[in-house]
Amino acid sequence: MLKPCTKRRKNPRAEDEIIITHYGYSDGSGEYYITIDTDKCDGCGKCVKQCPQSALRLETIFIDLEDKIVASVTDDQRKKIKYTCSPCKPESYNTPCVLACESKAINCTWKTQ
């Protein structure tokens, strides 16, 4: 089992150079995205436990020649998060996953047209 990487890089990068992963899509009805800041995410898994739809999981990604465990949206849910996430009222920006994250790594963008 890999341990979450907690080591900070020697040269901290500028604000816009952290790795942001976007999951979701925009279609004719609006924009639906869950974004995870993989630099802030420490892979604690609290959001995964809090998600009532089981739409989140921990995933190993590859950054700077290291494996790091971070939260991500499951493959199954990526293409339908508009429906999966709607019971949590993402337009309020206070979904269980966002509130569960102590390092403020999760955000949601919900814009219905």
Partner: protein
């Protein structure tokens, strides 16, 4: 009669599978030889690198069996090189079927590999990479070292991807390599089509053809719809120059030129892959082979 029945059996979607050894490149047993195997949903790519320099590569169609496709494409890349799989110090698997690359020492997501590969092909000025694969589109922002900064991994469906183009090639009976050029043979861009779904688009396209639209006009309308979707993805991760396109659709001039018009930027010029340039379709495999080198060197350090 006979001629027409032969014609109908031509597979217009079938794109060229090939392998290439970079001219003038040699290897010795002292060199660090690594490989990247990118098993995509539609195409499999393998690249061999000698000391971090592209040496050879191969492209084949992915079959229904990922491990076999991985083995086949690696054999293609090794063909006529005198190398054996055992000469490869480290192999990285990537792509849709990366967990099914049996000979790989490690699997890495295609996002990291495409950013690294684009950085290798076009140089350190690359900031935005659009990878148009067989079944999905990815928009990736990277820094000057090819490290991923931001990415949008998946759009809703296969619309606007390589597979969608294959469907149109078959429907309109036009070889897939010619689709991009033919889609540009219109005096003005036709009105946009409502739907980009591959399954429904076929029906809609048939309707348009029956209404008297030319093949060129239908292709122009769909290529534009696909380009608009891709441009939206890029805008979501943020467009920063220089922009490059990787994956199979980087060879589709109709897509590339329309994205340039919509976004108002020029992509970096496509390498002449038919002669001695690097093929942008193999970007993921090049990136994987570079990571293989870095990981091997890292493992050697005490």
């Amino acid at each position: 009669m006979i001629e027409s029945s032969i014609k109908s059996s031509v597979e217009f979607w079938r794109w060229e599978e090939y392998n290439r050894i970079m001219p003038g490149k040699k290897w010795t047993s002292k060199d660090l030889i690594t490989a990247g195997v990118d098993v995509g949903s539609v195409g499999s790519k393998a690249a061999i690198m000698v000391n971090g320099e592209a040496y050879s590569w191969g492209i084949t169609r992915t079959g229904s069996n990922s491990p076999e496709s991985a083995k086949k494409v690696l054999d293609w890349a090794l063909r006529d090189t005198g190398l054996k799989v055992s000469d490869l110090k480290y192999i990285v698997g990537t792509g849709y079927g990366r967990v099914n690359v049996p000979m790989a020492n490690k699997a890495i997501t295609e996002i990291a590999c495409h950013a690294k590969g684009a950085n290798y092909i076009w140089g350190s000025s690359v900031r935005t990479v659009l990878d148009v694969g067989g079944q999905d589109i990815k928009a990736i922002r990277s820094d000057e070292t090819g490290r991923v900064v931001s990415f949008l991994m998946n759009d809703k469906c296969a619309a606007g991807t390589g597979r969608g183009m294959e469907v149109f090639a078959d429907l309109l009976k036009i070889p897939i390599e010619d689709i991009g050029g033919i889609s540009l043979k219109v005096d003005e861009e036709p009105p946009p089509v409502s739907c980009t779904c591959v399954a429904f688009a076929k029906t809609e396209a048939m309707g348009l053809l029956r209404k008297g639209w030319s093949k060129e006009k239908v292709l122009a309308a769909y290529t534009r719809a696909m380009a608009v979707r891709m441009a939206n993805l890029i805008n979501r991760v943020g467009l920063e120059k220089e922009l490059v396109i990787t994956g199979g659709q980087s060879k589709n001039i109709g897509i590339v030129s329309r994205i340039e018009v919509i976004l108002g930027v020029k992509c970096l010029p496509m390498p002449n892959w038919r002669e001695n340039g690097l093929d942008p379709m193999v970007a993921g495999a090049f990136g994987a082979a570079l990571f293989a080198k870095a990981l091997y060197e890292k493992a050697q350090k005490p």
